[in-house]
Symmetry: C2
Subunit: 337 residues, 2 copies
């Protein structure tokens, strides 16, 4: 990207859970912004949002929205990305897309800056931001993979409702309120009650019995880590938590790493906080991680049921590192080029 | 046990979450009861409880409580079991103990009636009831083990607060109420807020980094399934759900079983309900399983990251099959002898 003192940005889906985070993180990290254009569908266009002290009016997303835009951050779902990302790229913007639309496209780099920043340079106008549950896992696993080569991952997730969106957060709160006051529980966003219940169902089911969310963890992990031989066996579960995803991850490696070695490697790695002193009550908790930037790793244990195994508990803010922050970090790398 | 038309039973810890379930399940299943004596510590002795239409007064647990008792159901914690189970056995009762005190004792059978009913006959006055998270897992895995020999299990749990007790259920409700009305959140039962949060911490931590709960899943599984070679790699997690534990279980087998074969084997096995048609929205949910007796299995998927692998989602009512019901089923087997 051509070096500038400041850049013009579009945020597509500016009023959503992730779009809102994007605007606030751009400001927080002092991204060199000349102008921000918040865009949305007709449902939200005309409403207000803010960027720092500036009040902005959300504009209607059209095919003409991207003139003079340097970077277009998309977080408005796959259909919108499929239609408008090529338009934005053609208009000269670099798209950083948070949907799943382009992630597995061979021409589109899929990037987690701590893991594969070198892939950014290969873009042809679109860079994909990975799925939230994948991002936090690869940040935590890449340093171990570099040292001992991970061959297999068995992962079970504990994913918060904010991954679905603001409406899901409202639904969880409303259902709890209703249950605690003997009111009527309504289910609209999820097919089943999420309050005080875990749903082993994220995204659509495929004929194999796995969900699309699970297959994202399989395929995106390989693409980001640049190693098609890594085998991933996932089970993704929605839990009644507002923000932050947690993951119970079992890995098998080619070489042995003790828990202590893993802790030492991870403490020196970028974007990771090791919170692992369970005797002192220290392990990552979703509540503690809300609003923070790092991927937190704890409960690091040797798994002696295999030759070179480890168990880990990985927590990150799915709206930040799992989505908006990772996208802004990609933009930061992009303007460094 | 000597055949009788009806038996005298003591329920130690009669006012607790599990004790209350025991009384109701004895009645529900028409256990041949001559007399039930509810026992508790001085904190609860004198309070009232009921057995069907009968109102009973809870008596103080003493060393003299077990005269003329045929079967003593214990669910009052390890310390009480260590002290009083031998006293009850010496007085001629057969103890069925829900605590962890005697489970790994070589002289004490550890029994899940669907899996190892034959071990009951080996008792010397005490029979141990396994840990809740172990019971539901072995019920679901034993039929697959019998067919294809399971060599390794990787399990992550989603355990409800009722496993901790009534006070934990109150704490979850209170914390939710406080959070939804901007009140003050109090944490007393758990070291951290459980409302809208997952705690990767059940029971005490050991120097290895595993918890006692996790090691119960390792050791009890082997003892119940009668196979010391089964390797279990567990991560146990408390989730903000009132009743029922869920488990994400990955198994490696000596022989291949397709998902369809596993479904067919499990549908014919005792104590299991296969709820596995995700395309139709059918998978086991904690909310649906509350108050039921079976172990529910769904999301059965082949795991092609290993030669002979399967993933499963296993749900059961931890107060019933995970505790009270399993104990009563042991008593039912005992009087059949």
């Amino acid at each position: 990207m051509k070096k500038k003192a400041a850049y013009t940005l579009a945020v597509v889906g500016a009023t959503g859970a992730v779009g809102t985070e994007m605007l606030s993180i751009l400001r927080e990290r002092k991204f060199p912004v000349d102008r921000v254009v918040p865009l949305a569908s007709s449902k939200s266009a005309g409403s207000g949002t803010s960027f720092g002290d500036d009040n902005l009016t959300v504009k209607l997303l059209t095919k003409e929205s991207f003139a003079d835009i340097d970077i277009a951050l998309f977080s408005a779902g796959s259909e919108v990305s499929k239609e408008y990302a090529p338009v934005a790229a053609k208009a000269g913007a670099v798209v950083i897309d948070n949907s799943s639309a382009w992630r597995m496209d061979k021409e589109v780099p899929l990037v987690v800056p701590e893991v594969n920043p070198q892939d950014i340079a290969k873009h042809r106008g679109i860079i994909a931001n990975p799925n939230c549950s994948t991002i936090q896992m690869v940040v935590a696993l890449q340093p171990l993979h570099a040292k001992a080569r991970i061959t297999r991952i068995v992962v079970s997730t504990y994913q918060s409702v904010s991954g679905t969106g603001k409406n899901a957060m409202d639904e969880l709160a409303e259902q709890c309120r209703a249950l605690l006051s003997f009111g009527e529980v309504k289910t609209e966003v999820y097919p089943n009650q999420i309050a005080f219940n875990c749903l082993p169902h994220i995204d659509e089911f495929l004929p194999s019995g796995y969900t699309k969310e699970e297959m994202k963890m399989v395929n995106e992990t390989r693409k980001i880590m640049g190693d098609e031989s890594i085998r991933v066996s996932p089970t993704t579960v929605r839990v009644p938590v507002f923000v932050c995803h947690a993951e119970s991850v079992n890995i098998e490696m080619e070489d042995k790493l003790t828990a202590e070695e893993a802790r030492s490697i991870l403490s020196k790695a970028p974007g990771i906080q090791v919170h692992d002193d369970p005797g002192q009550g220290m392990y990552p908790l979703q509540l503690d991680v809300v609003g923070t930037d790092a991927v937190y790793v704890g409960r690091i244990r040797e798994d002696d049921t295999i030759a070179n195994g480890l168990n880990l508990w990985i927590v990150a803010d799915n709206l930040r590192k799992g989505a908006a922050l990772n996208a802004i970090q990609i933009a930061e790398e992009l303007i460094k080029e």
